[in-house]
Each structure stands twice: as C-alpha cells, then as structure tokens.
C-alpha cells in the first residue's frame, strides 16, 4: 500500500535527542533535500514544530517554533532544501524520513515555468498555461500546490483551475472552479479561498456527464482568457490546471479538449508513460509534454477515504475549517419560490427519431425537478443565472454557463406544506431562485 515501505526508508529519527528536547515529542533531524513523511491516525491529531533550519510543507514554508496541528487522516510531507530539525507531538500512524523525493525535478519544472513567465513579462505575452495530468493517486493536486506556492513566493499571481470534480481543493465536490492564488496555501487549511469562480457540475465523476464537463471546461477557459486580457499580472502568472484521474477513453478526450480550450503550453504527465506518449501524439507540436515521476510518498486513498474527504469539504463550506469559524443558517424555502433543475435529460431511443438523425444535446438539457422527499440531504447549487422578468422562458438560457453563487443543503422536505428546510451559509432570502441539484448528499451531523 505504501510505495515507500518497500524501498527501505532510513529512519534517522533520534529518539534520544527528541526525548531530551521536547515534552513527549519526537525530534527528527533532516538532511539536505530529504523529507519527513507522516500520517495521522483516525481520531488522533499530531502537532508539528520546526526547531531549526528551513522546511516547507507542499511548497508552503513553516514558521519556526510554531505548532501546526494536523487532524486525523492527514498525510504530510515536510521537505527541507538545506536541512532542518523538526519535532512531532502526538501519535502518528507512520513517520519516516526519506531521501528519495522527486522534489528536485519538480523544482526544475518550476524553474522552467518561471523562465517562461519572465519571457512572457519581457515580450508582453501571456504566461505559461500548465495542465497537470495523471492517473489517480499520483500527487497531481500536490504538484499543483507546489508549483503554485513557488510561483506565488516569487511574486507571481497564477490561477489554479480545479477540474477535479471528485476532490476539489477550492470548493465543494461536484464543482469546477478557478481561483486566483495570491499567497501560498496555508500549511493547515490549504488555499485561502477568496472569490473563486465556481461552476456547477453536479457529480463526483466526469463520466456521468462528459459533455457538461467539457462545456464547463470551455466556460472556465473563456473566463480565464477574458481575465488575462484585462489583468496583466494574471496573464503573466498563467494557470495551473488540475485534472481528474480518469485518463482513459472519454476521460482522455476530456484532457485533450481541456488542453485545446485553455490553449495550454505545457502538460505535466505524472507517472504514466503511456499517457505521456498518447498526449505527445494527440497534442500539436507546440505543446510541451513533460513526463515526471510521482513521489514515493504518495499514498493510495480508498473509496471511503475519498468520501470522507468530500464530506469534510462540504462541512468546511458551511462550518468553516475544523467547524469553528462559520455559523450557517437554517430556514424554510417554499417550493413555489424556487426552481430546481437537474442537468442532463435521459436519452431518446434511436427508434423514436427520424431515419439518419441522432440526438446530440440531451446531456446539456435542463430538466425541472419536482421537489419531493427524495430531495432530502442533497446539495443544491444556487445559480447566478439572471432570472428573466417573466420567469417562464428566459431563465433557462445561460443557467449552464452561469457560475454558482453558493450552495445549500436540503435538510428536510415537507410535501404537505410545500416547503423544504435548507442549510445555507447566508440568512434568508436566497440570493437567486434557480437551484441546480447535485448527486452529492451531505448529512448534517456532528
């Protein structure tokens, strides 16, 4: 399960020294260009403190003598370029120091990208647009975070385009989003999410509606290009696109489509040579395809683990990081006040069509949903779409292409009174009345 385990990690932790310094902490002295990897048991938490030297977690620097807390299920790698010593407090499932990291390759990649940004700045062009692809569990998100953090630390303003609908780092799952990165991700909390551009996809797998997925990719690309045209800094910063781990058949085509929509300059393929060769063949010659190894520290995540992360992400949307900072509102919404749609209609059998015709756009159809008991616990996106004055025909246009202004969860449905109770980040009323239903459910316990 742990790739590194087979490679014989050399454990250089000096318990004796640790016992001398910390109060129950374990001290690790890291050599130059090595990293400390540890995982936190479920139900536990671990604190990390940098004692001497410089170290970073996924590109974000650690402050000396500050204790960082990591909750259950965290999988962390502390990397040092010049050597450092850190201390861990609490029970770790596994903790070891590894010399064997591809960080130097990643750093070289960053250097090349930075060189491109300099050229862009010099020549008044747009900066590099990078797409990170690879199968599941190869560290795509981590590589994105690294590259973004390094770029931001040099004063760039890159944009993160999050196309991974299963595990979004920006918004709740089931969405596709773009976020302007202005500071390195927080060591504990991740990106500071301010004014992201979020589109509703509605499911955790792009395969459920690949047409919608491609369409939203194009939408994001268009908005990003518009932004680049007016914001020089964003243009030079370029973007880093995180993609899904689905790299076969339709998933692969979605990648090619994304490359074309965003007009990417560089594609970083993690780990899989086959994907690398395919993309080299299917992308035009002016796109640089780069094959990079995955880090040995990458851990495979089980289905349950993914589900938990998704749940946590939704909870974080409503209650804030570690359920402390936000206090959501609960109120009733009458059925008559909102219109709920699902994207994608069932397809018609070919026998219903005239000879020689084929249907094309059922996947992008808006289907009205009659509110009922089965709506309970579903996550709904509040669409920003302009609502037509008459509310009959005009509203349908543009719902797909409109970003989302927020999310609500249906906690209860009363079919008698024709109302549903929702959990919402803002007090009533809802800012818009067009709601899009997600396949994703969230049960508001805790």
């Amino acid at each position: 399960m742990y790739a590194m385990a087979t490679e014989g990690p050399e454990k250089t932790g000096e318990e004796s020294a640790g016992a001398g310094t910390g109060i129950g902490g374990t001290r690790y002295d890291l050599e130059k260009e090595t990293e400390l990897r540890f995982e936190v048991d479920s139900g536990e938490k671990v604190q990390l403190e940098l004692l001497t030297g410089l170290a970073e977690v996924f590109g974000s620097e650690l402050n000396r003598n500050k204790k960082y807390t990591f909750g259950p299920g965290s999988k962390i790698a502390v990397f040092t370029w010049q050597g450092c010593s850190v201390a861990l407090f609490g029970k770790t499932e596994v903790a070891y120091v590894s010399k064997d990291t591809p960080m130097l390759l990643y750093l070289n990649t960053h250097a090349a990208l930075e060189q491109m940004r300099r050229q862009a700045e010099r020549e008044n062009e747009r900066g590099p647009r990078v797409m990170v692809v690879g199968p599941t569990d190869v560290g795509k998100s981590t590589v994105c975070r690294l590259l973004l953090s390094y770029a931001v630390r040099l004063g760039r303003r890159p944009t993160l385009v999050e196309l991974d609908v299963g595990q979004s780092a920006v918004s709740v799952p089931g969405t596709m989003s773009a976020l302007c990165i202005e500071r390195p991700a927080d060591v504990e909390e991740g990106y500071s999410v301010q004014a992201p551009l979020v589109y509703h996809f509605g499911s955790t797998s792009p395969g459920t509606n690949i047409k919608l997925y491609n369409k939203l990719t194009s939408c994001l690309a268009e908005v990003f290009s518009q932004r680049c045209e007016v914001n020089r800094k964003a243009s030079v910063g370029g973007c880093i696109i995180n993609t899904c781990g689905w790299v076969k058949s339709s998933g692969y085509h979605a990648l090619v489509h994304c490359a074309s929509a965003f007009e990417v300059d560089v594609v970083l393929v993690l780990d899989q040579e086959r994907l690398y060769n395919e993309l080299k063949r299917d992308l035009p010659h002016f796109v640089r395809v780069v094959l990079l190894p995955k880090s040995g520290g990458v851990v495979e995540r089980s289905k349950d683990c993914r589900r938990e992360t998704r749940d946590e992400k939704i909870r974080e949307y409503f209650y804030g990081f570690r359920s402390t900072s936000f206090f959501p509102h609960a109120f009733d919404v009458r059925f008559s006040d909102v219109r709920i749609y699902k994207i994608g209609a069932p397809s018609i059998p070919d026998s219903c069509l005239p000879l020689g015709m084929s249907q094309d756009d059922t996947q992008l159809k808006l289907v009205p949903v009659t509110p009922g008991r089965d709506l309970t616990h579903h996550v709904l996106s509040v669409s920003c779409a302009d609502e037509g004055e008459d509310g009959t025909g005009g509203v349908r246009r543009g719902v797909l292409e409109s970003p989302v202004c927020g999310f609500i969860v249906v906690t209860n449905v009363d079919t008698q009174a024709q109302v549903m109770t929702v959990l919402s980040p803002a007090p009533r009323p809802l800012p818009r009345h067009t709601l899009l239903i997600m396949d994703i459910r969230f049960i508001d316990l805790k």
């Binding site: 370029w81 591809p102 130097l104 390759l105 750093l107 070289n108 990649t109 250097a111 090349a112 060189q115 010099r122 020549e123 008044n124 630390r153 302007c180 004014a195 551009l197 680049c228 007016v230 914001n231 020089r232 964003a234 243009s235 007009e263 560089v266 393929v269 780990d271 040579e273 086959r274 690398y276 080299k280 063949r281 035009p284 010659h285 002016f286 640089r288 395809v289 780069v290 094959l291 995955k294 209609a345 059998p349 219903c352 069509l353 005239p354 020689g356 015709m357 249907q359 094309d360 059922t362 289907v367 009205p368 008459d390 009959t392 970003p403 202004c405 927020g406 980040p425 803002a426 800012p431």
Partner: protein, 555 residues
C-alpha cells in the same frame, strides 16, 4: 344636492348651443336683482327633472310617434336650460379671478366643497379654474373680475384656455364631479418611484403636503432634494446584500474594470508593441497589452532552451540535470545542486494497459506527422484547421431539409418540452403592458390629467393625504388620434399600480376606456409529459391523435 346636480347636467349639455340664453340668465342674476315672492315660490316648486336621454335619441326608428316624443323631450330640455336659476345670495361664496396666476382666490369662507377642492397658498384659499367653474355652475360660487361678477359664459371663456385646461378636460372633470367622484389634478412628481413603491414608504407628496400646511409655503424643490438621498440608500442596500454567498465577481475586480476602461487604447498599443519588436530588445513599456497577437514565424516558446526535466525523452537526459538558476527559485530554497535523473527513469510506470482494437485504430496516427498541423504555430491556428476539417466531415442531417432557406421549425434531435415547442409555434410573441415601458420616453401630447377618488371615500377624504386614487384619467377627444401602444405603455408605467382610464369626449358625451393585460391561455401538456422529456420529444414528432391516446393511458 341631487337637484343641483341635475340642473348642472342640463347646463353642460346645453352649454355649447345655448350660450346666449345662459348669458342672459347669468346677467339677470348677476345684476343683484331681487325677485318677488311669487317668482321665488315658482322657482322652488318647479320640477327641475331633466328628461332622460337614451338610445332612441341617436338611433331613431323613424316613426311619427317616436319623433313627436323625442321632439317633446328636446323642448322640455331646452326650456329647462333656458330657465333662470335662483340662488340665495348669502349662500354664494365670493371669489376673485387672478388671471396672472390662473387661480381663483376666495374672499369669503369656503363652503363644504373645501373638503375635496381647492388649496392654500400663503394662507389664502384658492381654487383651480376648473373647480371654480364647476362651483359656479353648481350655484355655490360667485367670481368677480375687476369688481364685476362673471357670468357662467364668461367663466367658460376666461377659465378655459390652452394655459389652464381645455373644454374637453373640463367636461370630463365636471362629469366625474357630478357623479360624486373626488377629482383633482394629477401631479407627476407625486407618483412614487419604483424603488419607493418597493419599500412601501409613505408618499413624499403626503409629507410635503403636511409641511405645506405648517409652513404655509409651497416648496417644490423639496422632492427633488430628496431624490438623490433615496438613491443613495438604494445603492448602499445593494452593497450590503453582497456577502459570502457571492463569489461571482472574479477577484481583482477593480483592477479588471480599470483595465477594461483603458481598452480603447489597445489598438494603439498593439502598433507600439510591433515597433518595439522590430527594434528588438527594450524592456516592455506597455504592461496592459493582452498577449495574444503572435505574428512571428515560429511557436512562441522555444522549449529547447527551457530545461523541463522530461523523463519521457530518453535521449536528452542521459546524465544529470543542471542545477536551476537560483534567481528563478524562491528565496528560502537557496541554490540546489544538479539532479540525477537516471534513478527516476527506472521507477516510471511503464504499464501500457490493455487497449481495445478500436482505441488502437483511433490513436494510431500522430497528429504531428500531418504537414498542415506542423505548419500551425499556435492554438488559434490549430483550432481553425480542426474546425475546417470537421466542417467537411459533418453532414449528418438530411440535407434537403436543412440546407434550404426554409428549415424545419424543430430539430427532432433536440428534445424539448411541450411548452418550448409551443413557444416556437407562437410567432407573435405576447407582450405585457408594462414590458419595456421604463425605457420609453413620454410625449407631451398625452398625459395623465386627473386623480379620481371614489365617492364613498368622500367622508374621510383629506386633501393633505388623499391616499391612493381609484383611477387616473387621461382625456382625449373622439376627433383626435387613438392613443398608440407606446402611449399606453408610458402612461401605465407612470401611473404604477393605479389603473389609467381614458376619457374620450364626443362633444358633450363622455365614454371611458381602460386597457388591461390578459393572456391567451396556451394548452400545456399534463405533468406526466413534462416530467418525461424523452416522451415529449418523441411526441413532438407524432400527431395529436397519438398524443391523445398516450394522454388517456397516462391517466
């Protein structure tokens, strides 16, 4: 009261043809002549009932009997109109006509009419000319001009002109007054704005009215001063509404907007950019130039000079990767050594996976072997090429149906609900009275003249706070043009939630018209079909008989 009203109607109906006689009666009255008791007695007991008029007056059947009857009616009418009218001098309120202000100022205390008519200026009680004329006709008011009493005819002549009010307007006014309605002039500024209506704040007119009573001075600027402040609160409210729920606005909005304002200069910058390119090598001076124009012959990035650590291209990195320039790295990283690539090459995932034959066929060709693709230098060119090629390929639809100037109304491959299909068939789009009205500009020709309040509100009516009118009146003539749609829209919008009635004057007769929104019902399929788009789409291809069958079975 009722008697007065009847006399009044007689007066107005006869007024055009009968001026001379009226003149005489008025003259007689105005000369302060005292009547003998017998004459007074006669005037009191005489029936003042005016003969009713009906359809037969306008569409006579032509029989002698009917003609005689009509003639008799008419004579009765005439005689009543001719009659001298008798009023008690003490009951008459005295007033003076002030032509410069076009108002009538009361000299003695006002009567009961003051509840619904007139206004105060600088502590003086005044009447509008139409009100004065109406009261004169009712026998409640005596108006003096240059110390001489005015006859009713003189009243008509002096009070009704282009600067005050036309005869038609007065006829409508008088008619409604006689029916018991409270009628006053319409002031456009009294209509609350859309925003005020939404907030349901008290009418500003009421406020200014009260102030007028206290200060005894008219302040027309009051409202205009208030305008901007309400707008200010509106803006503030909207801003306050933006919270966490609105990440729609992209970050750096200010920057974006500022830059887009500078957009018009982009073309000039483009020219400069090019001249800079030919000079070759000064640092950029135009940071706002969008980096899209690429006219150079080769792709933009020279990837040979960009040291990407690509493990895929084996031939290049046999040995190790040179250490990157420290200035490209974050400070804390410092300088790092060269990187040995070799061990990583052994660790790559070389698993090829299983490919179906179809996939193999599909992926067999490298697109970059294509000459045309090789010639593309950037995405824009490449996409153009792709589009060109796909256009050649795409010919799915039956050509004879879709390539002519007339195409089918509906593409069967696009499923849509019945409602949408109905919309497509609907060639004439329905319009609402208020639709788009806010953008239209009003004309001078048509305007709302009166606010009308229902008779049953008279008891509680207050001039300072009249409340919501029952209706608003726009006056026009049968001889004039019919109000067009634009007028209807503008006036309806101006009036807001209060209906506008059009009073059409045909000499003495007045007809009232109003325009109301209505919707022609459209036949919408039952819920079962709306919930099932596949079924609906299929149905759109079938004829209605089949549909009826399905409907029956659906039940």
């Amino acid at each position: 009261m009722s008697m007065g009203t009847r006399t009044q109607r007689m007066m107005i109906q006869g007024c055009l043809s009968n001026m001379a006689e009226q003149n005489k009666t008025a003259d007689v009255k105005s000369s302060n002549e005292l009547l003998s008791p017998s004459e007074l007695f006669k005037a009191r007991t005489r029936s003042h009932k005016i003969p009713g008029r009906g359809q037969k007056d306008f569409i006579p059947s032509g029989s002698n009997e009917q003609e005689a009857r009509l003639q008799q009616n008419l004579e009765e009418h005439w005689s009543l109109v001719l009659e001298e009218r008798v009023e008690r001098l003490g009951n008459l309120v005295k007033a003076v006509w002030i032509p410069s202000d076009r108002i009538v100022e009361l000299q003695s205390p006002a009567g009961k009419f003051w509840q619904t008519m007139g206004f105060s200026v600088h502590g003086k009680q005044c009447l509008h000319p139409e009100e004065a004329l109406y009261l004169m006709e009712c026998g409640n008011l005596q108006v003096f001009y240059q110390d001489l009493p005015l006859s009713i005819q003189e009243g008509y002549e002096r009070f009704l002109n282009s600067k005050t009010m036309s005869i038609q307007h007065y006829q409508v006014f008088g008619h409604l007054k006689r029916l018991g309605y409270v009628v006053n002039r319409f002031d456009p500024s009294s209509v609350p704005s859309q925003y005020e209506r939404q907030l349901n704040i008290p009418l500003s007119r009421e406020r200014s009215g009260r102030q007028l009573k206290r200060k005894r001075s008219h302040s027309p600027t009051h409202r205009t001063q208030e305008g901007p402040t309400t707008e200010g609160t509106e803006v503030k409210d909207r801003d306050g509404g933006k919270e966490r729920m609105n990440p729609e606005a992209p970050p750096d909005m200010d920057e974006t907007q500022m830059a887009s304002q500078e957009d018009p200069s982009t073309s000039a910058q483009g020219v400069q950019g090019r001249s800079w390119w030919s000079k070759g090598g000064t640092p950029d001076l135009q940071p706002e130039l969008p980096g899209q124009s690429q006219s150079s012959g080769s792709p933009r990035w020279d990837f040979r000079s960009l040291p990407f650590p690509d493990l895929g291209s084996r031939d290049k990195h046999r040995g190790s990767l040179a250490s990157p320039d420290p200035c490209l790295l974050p400070e804390a990283v410092g300088s790092v050594g060269p990187c040995d690539v070799a061990p990583w090459l052994l660790r790559l995932n070389l698993w090829q996976g299983r490919m179906s034959r179809r996939e193999q066929d599909q992926y067999r060709r490298d697109i970059n072997q294509d000459r045309e693709v090789q010639r593309c230098r950037n995405w824009a060119e490449y996409r153009k090429l792709q589009e060109k090629r796909s256009q050649l390929k795409r010919k799915n639809r039956p050509a004879h149906l879709w390539e002519g100037p007339v195409t089918p109304l509906h593409d069967p491959a696009q499923p849509c609900s019945t409602g949408e299909l109905m919309d497509k068939i609907n060639v004439l789009k329905p319009s609402r009275l208020l639709e788009g009205a806010s953008r239209l500009k009003g004309s001078d020709e048509w305007r709302i003249c009166f606010n009308v309040y229902q008779p049953d509100t008279v008891a509680e009516f207050k001039k300072s706070s009249p409340g919501k009118p029952y209706s608003r009146m726009c006056v026009c003539s049968f001889d004039g043009p019919v109000p067009d749609l634009r007028t209807l829209k503008v006036l309806a919008f101006q009036s807001g939630d209060i209906p506008v009635t059009y009073a059409v004057v045909d000499h003495g007769d007045i007809s009232f018209y109003s325009f109301k929104d209505f919707q022609i019902p459209t036949d919408v399929l039952p819920q079962i079909l709306n919930d099932n788009p596949a079924l609906t789409a299929g149905l759109s291809l079938l004829d209605s008989r089949v549909y009826q069958k399905i409907q029956a079975s659906g039940k």
